[in-house]
């Protein structure tokens, strides 16, 4: 029986091995690639999650690896996390929402949710700002981020700031979605716990 050339066999094996490696690379899967700095943030999170009950959020991880604050970068990393629950059991246990939002965004969401759930008029920008101790520009940025994650959607018919909360998020208490317990240690380490 004729033998296959050794060189061809190696080539096929090499392609197969490369495919396996590529398939196992979380930062390249699903057509949503992370840049090098973003991958550093993700690596930090995957290592941190679960230690000391940690459900550390993207904003803290960006700070920890030395990235300046950026809503766009944070959203890019957060979107990746949203699409990849296989990254860590923390995501499967607690959901992606709690690790992609900042405390400010969680409070803004809760203010909108509480009003909608209780059948109250939608709060205005000024009312949200007053309730969560932020200025109106910060509220606009927070609302924009919640809209990008499809937690809220534009709905001028609701009045107020003109947003409606999507039904899935009205009763969020079984999950950690909009809770935060942020810990800062004397040495500077910051993390969120569940």
């Amino acid at each position: 029986m004729p033998r296959k050339p050794a060189g061809k066999l190696f080539f096929i094996t090499a392609i197969f091995a490369f495919s396996l490696l590529a398939g196992n690379s979380p930062a390249a899967a699903g057509g949503h690639k992370l840049k090098r700095d973003e991958k550093k943030v993700l690596d930090y999170l995957v290592k941190d999650w679960g230690q000391d009950y940690s459900v550390t959020s993207v904003d803290l991880a960006m700070r920890a690896v030395g990235l300046p604050p950026s809503d766009d970068i944070r959203y890019h990393i957060g979107s990746y996390i949203k699409q990849h629950p296989e990254l860590h059991e923390v995501l499967r246990n607690w959901g992606w929402v709690t690790v992609v939002l900042t405390p400010d965004e969680k409070l803004i969401a809760r203010h909108l949710i509480n009003a909608q759930r209780d059948g109250k008029p939608a709060p205005s920008l000024a009312e949200i700002a007053g309730a969560v101790s932020l200025d109106q520009e910060q509220i606009k940025r927070g609302l924009a981020m919640l809209e990008r994650y499809e937690i809220i959607r534009r709905d001028p018919s609701r009045g107020g700031a003109g947003y409606a909360v999507l039904p899935h998020y009205i009763n969020w208490e079984p999950r950690l979605d909009f809770l935060f317990h942020q810990v800062t240690l004397a040495g500077g380490r910051q993390f969120n716990t569940n």
Binding site: P103, L179, V183
Partner: protein
């Protein structure tokens, strides 16, 4: 709280939290496992367990 009184009982720990039912922010500082400050003043800290 478990971490504050065990693993981190030898250091200062700051916890930023919020009222789960509302949107009030809570800022609590522990030093060597003991409560140092809590804001707002109406914050109730339950310290129990073994």
């Amino acid at each position: 709280m478990l971490l504050v009184s065990s693993k981190f009982a030898d250091q200062k720990v700051v916890v930023d939290d919020s009222s789960p039912d509302g949107t009030a922010r809570i800022h609590v500082v522990f030093d060597k496992g003991k409560l140092e400050t809590a804001e707002p003043a109406s914050t109730i800290v339950f310290a129990g367990g073994g």
